[in-house]
Symmetry: C2
Subunit: 229 residues, 2 copies
């Protein structure tokens, strides 16, 4: 037992990369740190994991405290643990990413944050700790995920237009997509429900609204169906 004691001096944290989508841009929720270390620098909104707390629960707690949201899309990505990555001691961190609908909530800044703000992902050049490589790893995971699983819908309201959906894909993949091909691929999945409604209160010609058929996707998936865009 005593031999093991020297190992029990570490801590671990969770760092969720919270993605949102607004006006055609992919956004990341950042906090400005109100305390040392890295005071006044932008960072991912992570926290230490309590001794009696599971990892997924901790990530959900951080997200809930900040946004008031529960049961949102949250996935573990990678654990970062370089010696010396945290000034307070040995702290490894488990990175998650989350996809949320921006309209859904108001911020509750956590105790260690002086501000909470959405940032365009393309404008983020520097973050506290090793949060830049963490952000990059989670963004890479999302780029892969959105092609193989229908997760893009998590970023949109329940009713959306095909143009909005295409913009989500373009923002994440960081390239323009051919409109005709994109629509053909999407509609061929038969997972979009035409709501027989149109947009309201827009200055251009109102577009048709669709929703994603989660129940149908889950049924197809259980039969071995692979979503692919």
């Amino acid at each position: 037992m005593s031999e093991e004691k020297k190992f029990f001096k570490s801590a671990f944290s969770v760092d969720p990369v919270i993605f949102g989508f607004d006006q055609g841009d992919l956004k990341v929720l950042l906090i400005k740190r109100g305390v040392q270390p890295f005071k006044d620098q932008w960072a991912l909104p992570g926290d230490l994991v309590y001794p009696n707390e599971d990892l997924d629960s901790a990530a959900g707690r951080v997200l809930g405290e900040l946004t008031g949201l529960k049961d949102v899309y949250l996935e573990q990505v990678h654990t970062f643990g370089k010696v010396g990555r945290h000034p307070l001691g040995r702290v490894i961190t488990i990175a998650y990413y989350s996809l949320i609908k921006i309209d859904n909530f108001e911020f509750t800044p956590a105790s260690l944050a002086s501000h909470v703000e959405w940032h365009d992902i393309s404008t983020i050049k520097e973050l506290a700790f090793d949060h830049m490589p963490i952000l990059k790893t989670c963004f890479d995971k999302l780029k892969w995920k959105i092609r193989s699983y229908p997760v893009g819908f998590e970023l949109l309201p329940k009713k959306f237009t095909l143009t909005e959906l295409q913009k989500v894909y373009e923002a994440i993949l960081e390239k323009e997509l051919d409109k005709r091909n994109f629509r053909k691929k999407l509609l061929s999945t038969k997972l979009l429900t035409d709501l027989n409604e149109s947009q309201k209160g827009v200055s251009h010609r109102p577009a048709k609204l669709y929703s994603f058929d989660t129940a149908k996707y889950e049924q197809l998936q259980s039969q071995g169906y692979n979503f692919e865009i």
Copy 2:
């Protein structure tokens, strides 16, 4: 600072799932534990991470101590951290998987192991700690990986036959593949080099030997090529 002290009482370990391939079967390297907890039970050959050791280094160390091998295929998969998963205290574990050529080494049982043995993956029904879900998660990752990246070759000698390669895929995907389709797909990647050699010392008709062209794959990959089987 003092508020944070209660968090610095944890440890973390690495648990590599070491895959090998022999006689058509996918194997996993297990140790029989010589010490408590879980004495005399089979387990993954994990170890606690030293305070001054990076995570990937720790996984490489465990693998090296056990097999004498360096620079083998090793990839982080997922971190498991349920409260109460380890009887000595709060220990979260970072799971890795590794692919090695079985011929390459002899075992050096680590201090906490009484035996080290390859087990057919299909025969493993019970393991110490939460090592069963860890094994399953790593196996699922390998099933996905082998279709999207040319990692199957890591399990074979440098020179192999197409039948051997097909058996690697069949063992990992747990299903039979159509021989003609499989060869057609593989050869169409143009990543196999025909060595103009045949097997020696076999009782059946000697088959042709191939090698995998790593340099060409890396070049293609840098140009955006996606391997897919």
